[in-house]
Amino acid sequence: MIRLRRLANAASVMTTPFTPEDFLALFNPVFSSRQLRGVVTRVVQETAESATIFFKPGRGWHAHLAGQWARIGVELDGVRHWRSYSLSAAAGKNPAITVTNMGAVSGTLVRDTRPGDILFLAPPQGDFVLPEHPRPLLMLTAGSGITPVMSMIRTLIPRRPDADVVLIHSSRTPGESLFREELAELADQFPNFRLAQWFTRRQGRMDFSSMKEIEEICPDWSDRAAYACGPEGFLDDAEALWNQTALASPDASTEASGGCSLKIERFSTSLAGGDGRDGGLVTFESSDREVQADGATPLLDVGEDAGVLMPSGCRMGICHSCLTPLLSGNVRDLRTGEVSGEPGQLIQTCVSAAAGPVNLEI
C-alpha cells in the first residue's frame, strides 16, 4: 500500500495538476483521488419493492461491523444525491445494502441498479452494533428496519453456538416481509435463534401500551439486551414502553443486571421544512452564531449582518465565490424557488435563503 502511494506520488509529477488516479479512471472507474467508489457486482430482488445490492468498494473503504450503515451517493438525472443505508451482509463478508423503494433515490436504486454500475461511497459507520460480550438479545424490527439486524443475525447465528437471539419482526404482509425465507431457515436450523413474524394487515399493529404482547412471545424479555429498528412511530412507542417499564422496576433496569436496555437505530430524523417560504434559524457553526432569517434574504446577507466572515463575490449568483458547505437543513434558490438540502452540499449563499432551520459550516 505504502509503495503504491509512493508510486502515485512519483507519477503525479507527470500528471499534475491532475492525479494518477484521474488517468487510471480511464481504464477502471473505481479510481478517484477524491471520492470513494464501488462497482456493483450483483443485484438480488428481495420483494416487489426492495433489492439487495452487492458491491466491491475501491481503496479507502474499511470492513463494516454488523449493524453499521454507509452513505451511498447515487446520480439522479445527473445530480448526485446521498442517502444512508444499513449494510445487510454479515460482518466479514463483501458489503451489500438492502434498499426498499420509499422515494426518488431509493426507487432509482431498487429499479435501475445493474451490475457494473458505480456507487459513490463513504466508509461504514454507526454504533448500532452487537454488544462486546455475548449476552441474550431481543430484536424488535419493523419494515426495512430489519436490514441492520439481518447483518447481526447473519454474523452471529451460524458462527456462534452460544448466541441467543429472539427476533420479533413486524411487516404488513408475508409478501412484503424482507428475508422471510432465510430467516425461517435459520430458525429451523439453529435452536438458539427464535423468530416471531408479525403481520400488521392480519394482526393489526403491535400493542406497545404494555409489555403483554412482547411477554407472550418472549417471556424473558427483561433479561435481554434489546435492539429496535424501524419507522419513527414504532421506535417512539418502543422507547416509551421501555422507559415506562424501567421506571416501574428500577432494579431491573441497570446495565449491571444485564437486562431491560434498549438500543435504537433511527433511519432519519425528518427535517423541519415548513413550506419553504418562512425562513428559519440559521446557525453558522464555526463562527458560533445564530440568527433568525426570513425566507427571502440571501444567506450571504444574513451572515454578513451577523458579522460572519462570509466568502462573497458577484452577489448575483454567477461567480460561485460564495460557496459554503451546508451541514443540515434546507435552502431555497431565490432564482428558481427550488428547495434543496443535501448535507455537505455547497450552496451559493448570495442566491439561497433559509427554508426552515439551516446549519452552515462557517
Binding site: P17, L26, S32, A296
Partner: protein, 387 residues
Amino acid sequence: MSVTTTSRPAAAGTTKPRPGALADSGSPLVRPPAAAHLTDEQVAELGRELDAIRDDILSKRGASDAAYIRRMVKIQRGLELSGRAALLVSKNKGAWVAGTTLLSLSKIMASMELGHNILHGQWDWMRDPDIHSTTWEWDFVTPARSWQHTHNDLHHRWTNVVGKDRDVGYNLLRMDPDQEWKPFNLGNPIYNALLAPVFEWGIALYDLEIPEYKEGLKSKEAMLKDLKSLGRKVVTQFTKDYAATPALAMLTGSGKQALVGTLTANAVRNVWAHAVIFCGHFPEGTDTFTEEMVEGETRGDWYVRQMIGSANISGSKFMHLMTGNLSHQIEHHLFPDLPSNRYAEVAPRVREICQRYGLKYTTGPLLKQVGSSWAKVFKLALPGKPA
C-alpha cells in the same frame, strides 16, 4: 420582496447598500448609447425574457449534460496520455508531430472547455467533487482560485467598464480610447505579439493584481498567499513539461525533441487562447462603458451591457469546442454558469431578442474577428480617439 420563479435577489432589506448588488428597478445614471432608445420598462421586459431562457435551460439540464462533460474529461485525458506517450519516443519524426499535436489539443481542451468552464461553476449542480469549481485545478500556470477571483467575479461582474474591469487591456495594452494615452502605448502591437505565445504567464502575473496591491486595495497577506500558490503551481507545471517529460524521454534518446514538443504545445495553446479571448470583447462592434453607466444598473441593464460588450465567433462545431464555447461569448456573458454545451442552443433565441430590441449582436468568422481586434491594438497605440 415577492419571490417568483424568475425574480432575482436584490439588496436585501435595503438597510445598507452592498457593493455589486443590482437595483430592483429604475435605470442607470446613463444608459449606454447603443441602448439609449430603450425605456426602463423595455429593459425590464428584456431581463424577464432572458431570465425565462435561463430557467428553461435549468429545467432541461440533467443526465445528458453530465454525460457530455464526462465525455470531454475522458477525451482530454486520452489526448494528454497519448500525446505525452508519443513525445517519449519523439526522436521519430512522426511521433514528434503526433505527440505535439495531441498534447496541444489536450492543453487547449484542459484550459478552455474543461478548465474555464468548470472553474465558472458550470457543472457544480452535479455535486460531483471530481468536476467542481472548488476542487478543480487546471493545466494553466495561474492557480485556479486566483483566476476565479479576477475572472468570475471582477471581469464578469464589471464587463467592459473602463476603470473597473481590468480585462480591458490587462494593465498592459491600451484597448479603449477612454484609457489615457502614454508614450508607452506606442508599443501596443509589440507587447501583444510578445504576449500571445506566453499568454498563460501574462495571466498569472495579471491575477496577482499588482496594481491593486500598490494602491493598497490588496493586503500584504493576500499577496503573499497568492505568490506562494503561484510559486507552487509554477514549479509543478514547469517540472512536468520541461523536466520530467524530457528526462523520461532521454531513455529513448528523445530528450531534446520532447522538450521542444512540450514547449511547442504550450506555445500553440497560448497563441490559440490569446486569439480566442481577444475575440471576446475587443473586435469592432463591442462597446465599453463608463462607471455612470453601471451606477443604479438593474438586472435588465446588466444583461444589455453583457450583450453589447461581447462578440461571438461563427464557425464549425469543432471550432466551438476548441474555443471552449467561448465563441458563444455573448451567451456565456449572459449566463456564465450555464453548461457550455447549452450555449449553441440558446444563441438563436438571444440573437432574436437583440434584433427585436434593436441591440447589436456582434459575430463573425475567426479570422475576421482576430483581425478586427488586432486592428484595435494598432489603432490605439496612437493617441486620441480613432473614428
